[in-house]
């Protein structure tokens, strides 16, 4: 098997490597928030991925500009898959839709009113406030929540602008279901 084919196979399989590292690390590191553990696992996953790629692809050839470009390629592809993996995990942890289909699965069938009664905006917001404080994105002081980190806030600003660019309604309208604030 050629080097290029080995590289493609390793990169295509890399999400399974990330999942394996995550499965191992989440049994070792039980102190943090699940998202923090997932993020740490993803960072740790770069090490075995780099070792496997080095052994299978890069070690057998001299290091040239082409190899540098190939290494950068591996970094971009692996990082993109890692980022998508984090979202997959986050979906399993925080997605309202996944929780709703779990509840319907458990009950067999559910009526609209049962679903809205089971899961109120207040519960959703309180859960997220606690998570944001645990992730140190917010800090709670004297009963007030204030910004602590900037990274997620900048992501929120970017996503809000992107949302408008692709033609979705303003967030404010969606928050209240169209009712004026």
């Amino acid at each position: 098997m050629g080097r290029d084919i080995r590289m493609i196979c390793i990169l295509v399989c890399s999400p399974f490597l990330i999942a394996a590292v995550h499965a191992a690390w989440s049994r070792i590191d039980r102190s943090g928030l699940p998202q923090t553990v997932a993020a740490r696992s993803i960072i740790l996953g770069y090490l075995p991925a780099a070792i496997i790629l080095w052994e299978a692809v890069f070690a057998s050839a001299p290091f040239t500009a082409d190899s540098a470009l190939a290494a950068f390629y591996c970094f971009v592809v692996y990082s993109s898959f890692s980022y998508a993996y984090f979202h997959l995990f986050n979906m399993s942890e925080t997605a309202r839709r996944i929780r709703i289909i779990n509840e319907i699965h458990r009950a067999g069938a559910m009526r609209y009113e049962q679903l809205t009664a089971m899961y109120r905006s207040r519960d959703i917001i309180e859960l997220r406030l606690n998570r944001l404080v645990a992730m140190k994105e917010l800090r709670l002081h004297d009963g007030c929540y204030a910004m602590n980190g900037r990274l997620l806030y900048l992501a929120a600003l970017f996503i809000s602008r992107w949302r408008r660019l692709i033609g979705f309604r303003e967030m404010r309208e969606t928050r209240t279901g169209g009712r004026p604030q």
């Binding site: 592809v77 309202r96 319907i104 559910m110 905006s121 007030c144 929540y145 997620l152 996503i159």
Partner: protein, 168 residues
């Protein structure tokens, strides 16, 4: 590796992204996840065929495989972020609320006052009614085969991680 891999791979991705923006601005498809998947799958195939027709296609099966893998990686990067924009992530929305408040600080009650009591879950239930995961007959929701498969997938995935079901 040739720099062409990056040029063509990025070209496939950017073209798909542009087409997605144009279509979404005209009208968001009813099954938007399926629409995204189709756009990001079909555009590189059409571009490759077009480039081949005008003799500008990249040469070599391996180079094309590298380009398509780069496109696939960038596409899953984007598609995995899309739900946060499509459905409004409450966590990101809370940050925006606090970031736009007068003193950059808000109490729990001030934050909660911005949300209709059921809006956050209603939006997701309505999405579910439109998706392939559940079928709605009258007022009652049941999971489809795809919905049951997703439940099973996440149950196996979470048990593989040694975690209970997520809290939503």
């Amino acid at each position: 590796m040739s720099p062409r891999v990056f040029i063509y791979g990025s070209l496939f991705f950017v073209s798909s992204l542009l087409l997605h923006v144009v279509i979404w601005r005209v009208r968001v498809p009813r099954h938007d996840a399926l629409g995204l998947f189709l756009i990001f799958s079909v555009v590189p195939a059409v571009l490759l065929a077009t480039l081949r027709a005008v003799n500008l296609a990249p040469v070599g099966g391996i180079s094309v495989a590298h380009m398509l893998l780069l496109h696939a990686a960038l596409s899953v990067f984007y598609i995995s972020s899309y739900p946060a924009a499509q459905a409004i992530s409450p966590s990101l929305d809370i940050l925006l609320l606090i970031g736009s408040s007068a003193n950059l600080r808000m109490t729990r009650e001030e934050i909660l006052a911005n949300y209709d009591e059921t809006v956050l879950v209603k939006a997701r239930i309505d999405d579910l009614g439109r998706s392939a995961l559940a079928s709605r007959r009258g007022d009652t929701f049941r999971l489809t085969m795809a919905g049951r498969a997703v439940v099973r997938f996440f149950a196996i995935y979470r048990s593989m991680l040694g975690l209970p079901a997520g809290q939503g």
